[in-house]
């Protein structure tokens, strides 16, 4: 008892601080680390789920090899997921930054618009959205078929492709954006929020300096807003990449869930682990590359 009392305040505080995270540590080991490692183990085994329990036989890398040689759905779905992310992430980021900058200005009705722009986070329930998507009538309305034939993207695309003014790839990317605008907008809710929070932290004095120095709006955006926002951009890039990879509508994620629901546990686990490792490597690389360029006060 005396020993405890004689400890310095600092070291006692360290020990007490650890007690704050004990509940999480217990929960994390039970509900995250253990299932996570079990998945790795299942992926190396032949698993059969029986009523009285699970029977396992160690088979090594067989399930991993099966993904490349025996299964003809894994690779196409994997590359499609990668492509989706590659296309989406820059668009979501640019779009949400643009909207956040606008919403951060003072104008009439901004409270209303902020409410609307946060709606995706509230409604983005897989069930509701998939019910609306599965509805032929809503698709008609959304693509504008019902109200007007004039703004259909198809004819416009043909026109641009045939005119040959713009590179074919650029045109394709443009129409990817137009045709998927609904999805892209719906995935930007949290990012807009994070950007607005970040914009609030930029000291107004910097804008005054820029004004006195005679910078125009374009220069001010790049020299002040973008630069001061760069740490938050890093946060958002990482969040968007993870969110986009882990989106349950991603083909590979859907394939994994489907496989595990049909109780082909070993194969689902192997795919899940491969996917996780790729996501980890990509996220890590992106983070390492961009976080160096971000602004920080200590430099």
């Amino acid at each position: 008892m005396r020993q405890v009392k004689r400890r310095s305040y600092e070291s006692k505080k360290k020990w007490l601080g650890f007690t704050f995270i004990i509940p999480w540590l217990v929960g994390c080991t039970t509900f995250f680390v253990r299932p996570f490692l079990m998945t790795l183990y299942y992926s190396l085994c032949d698993v059969k789920v029986l009523d009285e329990g699970v029977s396992m036989k160690f088979v090594g890398l067989k399930n991993y090899i099966h993904a490349f040689t025996g299964d003809n759905e894994f690779l196409p779905k994997f590359t499609e997921s990668m492509n989706n992310t590659l296309f989406q992430v820059p668009l979501i980021l640019m779009f949400s930054l643009f909207i956040a900058v606008i919403l951060n200005q003072k104008f009439r009705g901004r409270v209303f618009f902020r409410t609307v722009y946060f709606l995706p986070v509230i409604i983005a329930s897989g069930v509701v959205i998939s019910l609306i998507r599965g509805d032929a009538f809503s698709q008609q309305l959304l693509s504008g078929e019902r109200s007007s034939m004039m703004f259909q993207a198809v004819s416009m695309e043909q026109l641009l492709l045939k005119s040959g003014i713009i590179n074919e790839k650029v045109v394709n990317y443009m129409f990817y954006v137009i045709n998927n605008i609904f999805d892209l907008l719906w995935k930007s809710g949290v990012q807009i929020l994070i950007f607005i929070a970040g914009l609030k932290t930029i000291p107004p004095a910097l804008y005054e300096v820029a004004k006195i120095e005679g910078a125009n709006a374009w220069e001010t955006f790049w020299m002040v807003t973008f630069k001061m926002l760069s740490p938050i951009i890093v946060v958002n890039v990482v969040y968007t990449i993870i969110d986009s990879f882990n989106d349950y509508l991603n083909p590979i994620i859907m394939y994994i869930s489907q496989t595990s629901r049909s109780l082909n546990i070993q194969f689902a686990s192997a795919m899940a682990w491969m996917y996780f490792l790729v996501v980890l490597i990509i996220t890590g690389t992106v983070l390492a590359v961009i976080s160096k360029r971000a602004f920080s006060y200590t430099d």
Partner: protein, 330 residues
């Protein structure tokens, strides 16, 4: 005299140009925000428009948004078929309790990570980030198998020494399958919440705690009496995120609690229920107008979202304010 005239003209000219630019910009801003806002409001407007009409209006090419006759029959039907009052209470239980547990456990964890420099802190914090990165699909099945034979954090294995057999309880299908992870800061998206709390507490000046410590407040007392009351913004943000994600959850609920009748679960079954109910002769051969199902399905969607939308409009002002003050990104 002439020079002066020229100068004032110049100034006036510049002033006009600036005014014109700002006016064009505000029009452009409104058009942009409005058109994008329309896309975001589309699902909501669509649900309202479709659920208020008779099925015949769906196939009427003259009707786009505004139905010829407004009816509340779809809502009445779906309300009964979904068993809405019970579903609502189930959902409330399965989202409110885990959310309250989550804000408590996650704020505790976030505080621990932000204020105390114990050994292995950085390594453990990497674990928090890992919780965020690993797709939930990765751990779902092994979690399900673990729930079927839950050994009480290893305590069940100790029982093996006394009785020769490990002691298990079956958690799957019980409310505990949702409550327990939430209470231990490992529920739905817990990694994100810990991160938010961690950022928030790092931004709070330490003077407050130092003063409390000098006044003889213990670490726990400081946390509950000083820190938590000052963290209202972060608590509200996380609570609202959490309750939305728990309410809308289908992924975990459908695996851990297959037989529960939460609103979201009922909504996924609604298509089948409607097919049954709208087929008066109970024969699968009778042709059923799919529009009859569509209008009621949209009414169901609206009923499922109504509590969230009501809560959001009510708390909206605090919420957007709170998020901005949380310093999620600080």
């Amino acid at each position: 005299m002439e020079l002066r005239q020229l100068l004032t003209d110049r100034v006036r000219q510049k002033h006009y140009i600036r005014q014109a630019v700002s006016r064009i910009w505000s029009v452009y801003r409104f058009v942009t925000l409005f058109s994008i806002g329309m896309i975001l409001l589309f699902p909501l407007m669509y649900m309202i428009s479709v659920s208020l009409r008779y099925a015949s209006d769906l196939s009427d090419p003259m009707v786009v948004w505004i139905p010829t006759t407004v009816t509340f029959k779809n809502f009445a039907d779906t309300f009964k078929l979904m068993n809405y009052p019970i579903a609502f209470l189930t959902s409330l239980k399965l989202s409110l309790i885990p959310s309250l547990l989550t804000i408590f456990s996650c704020s505790l964890t976030g505080y621990g990570f932000s204020r105390f420099k114990f050994k292995g802190r950085n390594a453990l914090f990497l674990l928090v980030l890992l919780m965020l990165i690993v797709p939930p699909q990765n751990t779902l099945i092994s979690m399900f198998l673990q729930y079927r034979e839950f050994d009480l954090f290893g305590l069940g294995q100790i029982m093996r020494i006394f009785t020769g057999k490990p002691f298990y309880i079956n958690l799957s299908g019980t409310d505990m399958a949702m409550f327990l992870p939430a209470a231990l800061a490992s529920g739905i998206r817990a990694g994100l919440y810990i991160l938010i709390f961690n950022k928030f507490f790092t931004n709070i000046p330490t003077e407050l705690e130092d003063a409390a410590a000098i006044d003889g407040c213990g670490v726990y007392k400081t946390f509950f009496k000083v820190i938590l009351p000052n963290a209202r913004a972060a608590l509200l943000t996380v609570f609202l995120f959490s309750i939305v994600w728990y309410w809308n959850d289908y992924f975990y609920t459908s695996v851990f609690m297959q037989n529960t009748s939460s609103v979201t679960m009922q909504l996924t079954k609604l298509n089948g229920i409607l097919k049954q109910a709208l087929n008066p002769l109970h024969t699968s051969t009778a042709v059923l107008d799919p529009n009859e199902i569509t209008v009621r399905l949209q009414a169901g969607c609206l009923l499922a979202l109504a509590p969230l939308i009501a809560m959001y409009t009510f708390l909206q002002r605090y919420f957007t304010d709170a998020i901005e003050r949380t310093g999620i990104v600080g």
